[in-house]
């Protein structure tokens, strides 16, 4: 039976208050703890920007201790995927943290996300093979955004590496990879970036420029409609029964849209049991009332 892990990319967003995290929190209130009561996975994105202290990871493990099945997936640092300049110390820093989660049985896997410009060719494939060898002790998910990877030779290559190719949904601009699930090993990983085409185009033209957090996040500001979710559900279900685990990560986090869609997909993909949804989320998004427990 396929096990679904459904959650968001990151959990620490100020703009999730009050629509998800309550207003006027007490001193003991912890966002990750609150989050883990509703979802069974979170993708750690901070690791893409910085090599975090092992204590952070130990703290997270502690905070989710009451949730039996909760997992973290961890995004690989940009030194490995974007600048592609790294040393032994960088590898060690990543492995130390992954090992903390793995030892606690909280590691879902490592997300290796390459930029759009990373197209399929021999050097690119060799580089990926090298990274795959370095991190082969962990489940690996690779996100490639260029459509040149959409070809049978690349699929064979992923199968040979035993790496899961992420299925991504994003605005279809230029040679972006299309939203088509592909099974390359026993796991599937779906990432949803939203379909905010106008902002996505703007962000391409602003690439490399100094931007505030709000400006940089704007392209992910997109709430999937019920009809789009129905399409998504049917696409995801194509891999059901064919893989052991399916990870569904909503990266459309601004304005807590990712949370709303994660609740909806949780309902659609799992048993269709009504969900325990925070009152403030229901108030902000009345369409969730149909899937909320009374």
């Amino acid at each position: 039976m396929t096990k679904y892990y459904i959650g968001t990319a990151g959990w620490s967003y100020k703009d999730w208050v009050p629509n998800f995290y309550p207003k006027g929190q007490s001193k003991n209130f912890d966002w990750l703890q609150f989050y883990s009561r509703h979802f069974n996975v979170v993708e750690v994105n901070a690791t893409y920007y910085a090599y975090l202290s092992p204590n952070s990871f130990k703290g997270w493990v502690e905070k989710v201790s009451s949730e039996e099945e909760f997992l973290f997936t961890v995004k690989l640092h940009q030194d490995f995927t974007h600048t592609r300049r790294f040393e032994e110390a960088n590898i060690k820093a990543v492995r130390t943290n992954l090992d903390i989660l793995a030892k606690a049985e909280r590691l879902g896997g490592l997300l290796i996300q390459f930029p759009y410009s990373y197209a399929f060719n021999s050097p690119a494939a060799e580089y990926l093979r090298n990274l795959n060898d370095i991190f082969q002790d962990y489940n690996r998910f690779v996100e490639l955004r260029h459509s040149s990877w959409n070809n049978p030779d690349a699929y064979d290559f992923f199968r040979e590496l035993d790496i899961s190719l992420c299925t991504i949904d994003q605005p279809q601009i230029g040679r972006s990879i299309s939203f088509e699930p592909l099974i390359t090993n026993s796991r599937a990983y779906f990432r949803f970036h939203g379909r905010n085409e106008a902002e996505w185009k703007k962000s391409i033209s602003n690439y490399g420029k100094e931007q505030t957090y709000e400006q940089a996040s704007e392209r992910y500001k997109y709430l999937y409609s019920p009809g789009e979710l129905v399409e998504i559900e049917q696409k995801i279900k194509q891999v059901e029964g064919k893989v052991k685990e399916v990870f569904v990560i909503m990266n459309n986090h601004p304005s807590s849209y990712g949370i709303v869609n994660a609740f909806e997909l949780l309902f659609m993909l799992r048993r269709k049991d009504k969900l325990n949804i925070p009152e403030s989320t229901l108030k902000a998004f009345p369409r969730l009332s149909k899937i909320a427990a009374a």
Binding site: P226, G227, E231, Q234, P286
Partner: protein, 387 residues
């Protein structure tokens, strides 16, 4: 004897609107034109709205008079298309042959599946429940020996109903029903039928075929066959789309021909884009013209298959100029493409001009796909008035 299912999604647009906004549940909801503008018609309305006498295709102005407290929505057409596709995907899992008749209607052929599925009634119920469970959409199913019977049957027990017309009982099933129950009997045919004393379908069945066809021509023969419970028994799954049309209702009625012809040009551009998007071409081109006094005429012409804006526009213009004979302002204008078939490359071999135009349209379509419909417009020199 065949076994055809007709599955009709109950108040489909309204059901989708209620998924988008559950607070609409239990309220009279009307999807269609804006009642404040006072133009256009109802596309769909909830069963609560129907209690006020509202029905689809009713002028929105009249609807607003009957039900001023209703909730009037413009609708989310893209969402409807997504849900329709999702329903089709579910049905494809279970039905051997499917024909999508419209956005919310599906025919399925289950002939020979009795042993596989057991009771057809139970199977229809299973399909209904699956669609409800997966998509929260209510539906009604009609089961009959042909498409006409199945369609009439699905309409009998709405909403969430199932009607199974046992083979051999078709005539009996139809006998007491009003003649307008037969699909295709509109206001004009109804008036003509009533004028000759035909009120119930049984009245038509009793009449001799010769008399009936002499009164109503070929259309009468078809009606007479339907009244006897006969109809099309085979589905055409490859031709999901039967026609493509676009209409425009003017905010203010228009008398200037140039404006109307410009509107026709824009409509042609849109329908042809739709045609090419689906890899189709048309051979029957029609127009619809509604004057300010609601007198409406439709005219069509058959040409050789095409998906070219220019060829379609020339035909549309001919039809319009020939039939726009009254000096009365126009309220609505529409373009209708039917007899659709898959695009054939073969036809254009050795026709340089056609190949060039085809390439041009491919480029136009890909630009529109990337930057939106309005990013580029195809220009066509307007033929002279004497053309």
């Amino acid at each position: 004897m065949r076994t055809i299912f007709h599955l009709d999604l109950d108040a489909f647009f309204v059901s989708v609107e209620r998924i988008i906004d559950p607070t609409l549940e239990g309220k009279p909801v009307i999807v269609g034109a804006d009642p404040k503008q006072g133009r256009g018609v109802i596309s769909a309305c909830s069963y609560e709205a129907r209690r006020y006498g509202l029905h689809s295709a009713m002028p929105i102005k009249m609807a607003y008079r009957l039900c001023p407290n209703g909730i009037y929505l413009h609708g989310h057409y893209q969402e409807y298309c997504r849900y329709s596709e999702a329903v089709k995907n579910i049905l494809c899992r279970y039905a051997p042959v499917i024909e999508q008749a419209s956005i919310d209607e599906f025919y399925m052929d289950f002939t020979g599946c009795e042993k596989l599925y057991g009771s057809f009634f139970m199977y229809a119920s299973f399909l209904q429940k699956t669609i409800w469970k997966e998509l929260s959409l209510p539906s009604s199913v009609g089961i009959g020996s042909n498409k006409t019977i199945a369609k009439i049957a699905s309409d009998c027990m709405k909403p969430k109903g199932i009607t199974y017309v046992i083979p051999g009982m078709e005539e009996e099933f139809l006998r007491r029903m009003p003649v307008e129950t037969i699909p295709g009997v509109g206001k004009v045919t109804l008036r003509d039928l009533n004028a000759k004393g035909f009120y119930k379908i049984g009245d038509i069945a009793k009449a001799p075929l010769q008399y009936f066809s002499s009164c109503f021509g070929q259309c009468g023969t078809d009606l007479w066959e339907k009244a006897h419970g006969r109809g099309i028994e085979f589905l055409s799954p490859g031709h999901d789309r039967k026609s493509i049309s676009k209409e425009h209702t003017y905010g203010q009625d228009v008398i200037d021909r140039k404006i109307i012809e410009q509107t026709l040009f824009n409509l042609v551009s849109k329908v042809c884009q739709g045609l090419r998007d689906e890899g189709l071409q048309t051979s029957t081109i029609g127009i619809k013209l509604r004057y300010t006094d609601f007198i409406t005429l439709t005219r069509a012409k058959t040409i050789r298959p095409t998906s070219d804006d220019k060829e379609v526009y020339e035909t549309v213009l001919q039809l319009f100029r020939k039939n726009h004979t009254r000096r009365v302002a126009v309220r609505l204008i529409g373009v209708h493409l039917s007899k659709l078939e898959e695009f054939s490359e073969q036809e254009f071999i050795f026709e340089d001009e056609k190949i060039r135009r085809k390439k041009m349209f491919q480029a136009v379509d890909s630009l529109r796909a990337k930057y939106g419909y309005a990013s580029i417009n195809v220009g066509v020199a307007q033929p002279s008035k004497n053309a």
